[in-house]
């Protein structure tokens, strides 16, 4: 094989990495380099340094170490049976790209994953070596996210957690059947075991021992995962209850949903579709409601199991549960205010604060950052007389997204 230039490798291995949705660089340890002895800082909310025309944030240098892979996951551009061009970075090349991009303020750090070459252990060992070199040799204090290989040896995962801020393992597909059919070499059991292991190590790292000695650091920014949406027949209800279980069982920081996207050189097993972007968007909204608005997955996903594509899940819930409305903004408890469409956690906090001093009026809500167009039918308070009634049969139509929105291609 001809030797590829660094530019060619970067092109191939960024192409190979772009289907992973995760790019977060938030949380974790607070570090800086004010002492002049290293490079970088982290902690707090991560920064999106650029946006690609697909609207996705570019926060990390997201690349594969190599896109050679001996597995054959049907949805993946890097599967062994695909004809894409292959490349492999050396350890030094990844280190150099990360440091040089970082110094120019292009990125917050590195998100490294890899195809599986020869064996899971060898692949994981090489990835760990990159993280170690960055930390030890380059004094790099920016963010590092490593995609761990589920079958890799525990010592390797342990070392990865020492250098990385975040570890992730993708569950990839929402159901076991889909996994069998589309990712034949992967085992849901191994993946879950690996997640449980990361959780246990993180908890151990947070415990001080009786002697007061601090244990070695382990992935302080937590773990995350990704599920591909639309490659199999799983419903939104199944996806969300799966996510709720992942948040609960493995203390995941985030579950990412990635609309199955056309890839170059598709597999016969999986015909290409337009990526269901609106569905992906609704899943993120529903996920948000589960994490911050005290909704359970059973409440959000309606009977048929699929989220309403035309209205957002909070509005859909309110429309389907009109008996709980209108809500008296001056009296309702926090849980109920959070269920009002157009009210966010911040504006609800402001309402509760202000309510301690005086009666809220409609004009106040405007200044508190509420989306009143959405809230109007669902609230009562002084200064507002409900114009379109809750019993209005056309209420839903007022909020349904115009079909051309988010239409692509």
């Amino acid at each position: 094989m001809v030797k590829r230039t660094l530019t060619e490798k970067l092109a191939i291995l960024a192409d190979a990495a772009k289907y992973d949705a995760s790019c977060a660089s938030s949380g974790g340890e607070r570090r800086d380099s004010r002492d002049g002895k290293g490079l970088g800082s982290s902690g707090g909310s991560g920064i999106c340094h650029a946006y690609a025309p697909d609207g996705r944030c570019i926060s990390l240098l997201k690349i594969l170490m190599t896109n050679f892979c001996i597995y054959d996951c049907a949805y993946c551009v890097n599967r062994v049976s695909s004809h894409v061009e292959r490349a492999r970075f050396s350890v030094e090349e990844v280190v150099r790209l990360t440091v040089e991009f970082y110094r120019r303020n292009y990125i917050e750090g590195l998100f490294l994953s890899s195809g599986i070459i020869r064996s899971p252990d060898e692949t994981m060992a090489d990835m760990t070596r990159i993280a170690r070199t960055l930390r030890q040799q380059e004094g790099f204090r920016g963010y590092i996210h490593l995609k761990t290989i589920p079958d890799a040896a525990p010592e390797l995962i342990e070392e990865a957690g020492r250098w990385a801020d975040r570890l992730s393992i993708n569950v990839e597909l929402p159901t076991e059947q889909a996994m069998q059919a589309l990712a034949p070499e992967k085992s849901p059991r191994t993946i879950r075991r690996a997640m449980a292991d990361v959780r246990a190590r993180r908890e151990a790292a947070q415990d001080k021992s009786h002697a007061g000695k601090r244990p070695a650091r382990f992935a302080p920014a937590g773990q995350s995962t990704q599920m591909i949406v639309g490659a199999d027949a799983a419903t939104d209800g199944q996806i969300l209850s799966n996510a709720a279980q992942l948040y609960g069982s493995y203390k995941l920081g985030r579950v990412y949903y990635s609309a199955f996207s056309p890839i170059p050189d598709a597999s016969q097993l999986l015909p290409l579709i337009r990526p269901p972007l609106l569905r992906e968007h609704r899943l993120y909204q529903a996920d948000w409601l589960m994490r911050f608005y005290e909704f359970s997955p059973g409440e959000i996903a309606p009977q048929g199991g699929m989220l309403d594509l035309e209205v957002d899940p909070k509005m859909a819930w309110a429309l389907a549960h009109r008996e709980h409305f209108p809500v008296d903004v001056n009296r309702a408890p926090r849980e109920m205010l959070l269920r009002v469409p157009g009210f966010g956690t911040k504006s609800v906090a402001r309402m509760l604060e202000a309510r301690r001093h005086r009666t809220l009026r409609y004009e106040d809500l405007l200044r508190m950052g509420c989306v009143l167009r959405h809230a109007q039918p669902f609230i009562t308070l002084p200064g507002w007389s409900r114009a379109p009634g809750l019993d209005d049969a056309h209420l839903r139509a007022r909020f349904a997204a115009k079909p051309e929105q988010l239409s692509l291609f």
Binding site: T7, L10, A11, I12, A14, D15, A17, K18, Y19, D32, S33, R34, G36, K37, L39, G40, S41, I47, C48, H49, Y51, A52, P53, D54, G55, I58, K62, I70, Y71, D72, V80, S81, S82, H83, E100, F101, R103, R104, N105, Y106, E185, K186, S187, R189, A259, S261, P262, I263, D265, A266, Q268, L272, P275, L277, R350, H357, D364, R367, L408, F409
Partner: protein, 274 residues
């Protein structure tokens, strides 16, 4: 009527000292004309000792932080508005956080705008190497155009992040210089754009290839990365072409027939683990 001219460098600290002094003297908001200008470095020096002798006003810590943020806004009325709010808070005529007060509402909105501007500066500054790559401390420079005079508030972030290199960030208002670990500010005399840097080609390669043409969503990009920033972003010159060619690229992927794997593939694949 008193005219208070705040210095271009150290504006917020000088305002604080002046506001404290004026409040002690019982000066009413409508008796002060605030401005920010060159002439004032010496005035700040006079103001400080007087301000320091006056006992400080007690205000909620959150209020001080938000006010100092809002003072980095470009609105010429910001100093007067903040002084009026300080007096009313201190006299118990205004409750911090009461958004039904139009002045406080405006101050909070401006603080939010400043926060966003600072965040975008942290995101979109692009350094170019201006020293030798093998120098003991490498040297970089950037030109950036924020909406508000935020240079002093926004650049300590870069000092924490890029502690082992020297750098300059020039803006139309002030220039921040970080040399051997010390951060200082000076007025910007002329626009200074450092020459392009070879690593920008690699960055553009990355930008072009991390983009998925099957997910084109231009408005999601421009709402977070408005066009006004593009002229100082080396990657932005690629955007029009990436947008233009995306639909055809996505269509080509869909229309290409699935391929059959090479014969040797079966041998490479491992068995499913248990």
């Amino acid at each position: 009527m008193q005219v208070i001219t705040l210095p271009l460098i150290g504006t917020v600290a000088a305002w604080r000292a002046e506001a404290r002094r004026l409040a002690q003297q019982g000066v009413r908001p409508e008796e002060v004309l605030w401005q920010r200008g060159e002439r004032a470095a010496d005035l700040f020096a006079q103001a400080t000792p007087q301000g320091a002798t006056a006992p400080p006003l007690t205000l909620p810590r959150e209020a001080v932080a938000a006010m100092e943020g809002a003072l980095c806004h470009s609105d010429p009325q910001r100093f007067a508005r903040a002084y009026d709010i300080v007096l009313r808070l201190a006299q118990g005529r205004l409750r911090w956080g009461d958004r039904s007060d139009p002045a406080l509402h405006k101050l909070l909105m401006q603080e939010k705008a400043v926060r966003r501007d600072i965040h975008k500066m942290h995101a979109f500054v692009r350094f170019r190497e201006v020293g030798a790559p093998d120098a003991p401390r490498r040297a970089f420079a950037a030109w950036f155009e924020p909406d508000h005079p935020i240079t002093e508030a926004a650049t300590p972030f870069f000092a924490n992040r890029f502690g082992d290199m020297d750098w300059i960030i020039a803006t139309p208002d002030l220039t921040a210089r970080f040399e051997c670990g010390a951060l200082r500010f000076e007025e910007t005399r002329t626009e200074f754009r450092p020459p392009p840097d070879a690593t920008e080609d690699l960055w553009r390669t990355y930008f072009a290839h991390i983009f998925n043409p099957a997910r084109l969503m231009v408005s999601a990009m421009t709402s977070e990365m408005p066009r006004k920033y593009w002229k100082n972003l080396p990657e932005a010159e690629l955007i029009p072409d990436l947008i233009r060619t995306a639909p055809a690229r996505a269509r080509a992927m869909q229309e290409a027939a699935p391929t059959l794997p090479h014969a040797h593939v079966a041998k490479l694949r491992p068995k499913r683990p248990e």
